[in-house]
Symmetry: C2
Subunit: 296 residues, 2 copies
């Protein structure tokens, strides 16, 4: 297996799907369609649709029903970044080396572009009812998961607590809550939707949710570790920023060594559980490890 090459091919395919589901740039409202493309096609690891597709394949899913959901989850992830970058939120002018959406299109359009992407995610996912009406019950279930994990009991809930605790010392438990919801929830949704649409069993769906929860948390802990151990050159962003901002992180909470142990433990447990499903999953196993054991 050549992981890098396999990963590149999958990413290319995902970008193709994203382009396919983006709206045409036409009509009086063309500017919003442009801004949606600008935000969505800004690069990124495409981790969520990739995990969704791998899980779908793992459980023997067939056909195109997964594609609108792959596009939808990336749209939801993107809208959350667009709104996070707004002046009233993190006030970031750059993301991945490009100007953020509100900087290019104006703050009002930044708000509306986020709204449009969130709404269009559901519109896109709903198109599956038309292409696969015989799977309406599974599609309905996948939609429920998507909305649930993106909402106040999922990603938005995590953002709210994160925003409200900015500048405060928080407990480790609250930190774990924020990580689980803000980052973990959409990763959980990705694998659960892949499993549901492939017709996986209840216990398999539950196991995938658990695996994703662990990887999501380990991913965030690794972020905290890199802020302490990496360099600005490698990360492409300032290091030691958590210390400077007096932020509670896994490293400040448990110490560097314990944080490393925790990330490793969660990852190994996740890989072990993935193997216990008893299917061929070499690429996904490697993907999970690389998500955590990364240098940037």
């Amino acid at each position: 297996m050549n992981f890098k090459e396999d990963c590149r091919k999958r990413t290319e395919k995902i970008e193709e799907i994203l382009r396919k589901y983006l709206p045409d740039q036409t009509g009086h409202q063309q500017i919003i369609e442009e801004a949606m493309e600008y935000s969505l096609m800004a690069g990124g690891k495409r981790l969520r649709p990739m995990l969704m597709k791998e899980t779908f394949d793992l459980f023997g899913g067939k056909g195109g029903v997964i594609e609108p959901f792959m596009a939808a989850i990336e749209m939801i992830h993107t809208y959350s970044l667009v709104h996070d970058d707004l002046p009233a939120m993190d006030n970031d002018d750059y993301r991945r080396g490009r100007k953020t959406t509100h900087v290019v299109y104006g703050e009002d359009m930044g708000i509306l572009t986020g709204d449009a992407l969130l709404n269009y995610a559901f519109e896109t996912a709903c198109s599956a009812f038309e292409t696969d009406p015989q799977n309406s019950i599974l599609i309905g279930r996948a939609l429920k998961i998507l909305a649930g994990k993106a909402g106040i009991y999922g990603m938005i809930g995590g953002q709210v607590v994160d925003v409200r605790s900015a500048g405060c010392k928080i407990s480790g438990e609250l930190l774990a809550f924020i990580y689980r919801l803000k980052t973990g929830a959409l990763i959980e949704a990705s694998v659960m939707i892949g499993a549901v649409l492939a017709g996986a069993k209840e216990e398999e769906i539950g196991k995938m949710e658990e695996i994703a929860g662990k990887i999501g948390l380990a991913f965030q802990i690794q972020d905290d570790i890199l802020d302490v151990t990496s360099t600005t050159e490698i990360l492409g962003k300032p290091v030691h920023s958590d210390e400077k901002n007096e932020k509670t992180t896994y490293v400040t909470w448990k110490g560097l060594e314990k944080a490393k142990e925790e990330a490793a433990r969660l990852t190994e447990e996740a890989v072990e559980e993935l193997r216990s499903i008893g299917k061929e999953c070499g690429f996904m196993e490697e993907l999970l490890r690389r998500l955590v054991y990364r240098e940037k």
Copy 2:
């Protein structure tokens, strides 16, 4: 028929449904659940869920499947107001005599509350898959309509063009486009979803969409008329504001008399079409007229 009394009863029932579908106020993210309630329970005519329910009943709809959609459409209407009021948009501190959401909870929470309401609308509507799995195909179709009419080809599309043309002279055609999308689309969604979930025929769904489009437009034209003909005391907001802001309206476009004629023509056509469906619809007929022929 005592219209006022009938209307009051229906509004009460809708408020009950909204409360039922609002999330519990619990957990670390409680503040967002509070803000959602603050925004959603701020009063208002509840026009969209009312039209949805009337249409559902008109076509013989039975059971509770309509209720999550009634809540969902009002959540979407509310999120659009919360985001419209933000400093980067209309920058309004008051709505219906109460402080707007971002004034009470902060600008960051204003953005997140709008996001939460939009997302929760879909989460709420998706709950119908669990309570009525046998209707999954109809529910899927209703969801598609909801997302479509709320999105870039519907309400958001109208907002985008409205925001982008603020302070500019625009053509009457563009004005009609904004009105049709910004206000008309959600009203169309309301009656279409009511019809779809009641199992109405294709041509009936199409007819209801047309009726709602006419009423939505007439409603907006009446807004323009009242800005010229009413008083601040009656309207509860400054009159002649369109003239002051040099805004293009139906009145500046066509003149007051023609605008009045247009509103009346659209309303009478809508009522005529409603009657042609051949069902008992006394309340809805009166409701449509009163939406347009109102004094405030």
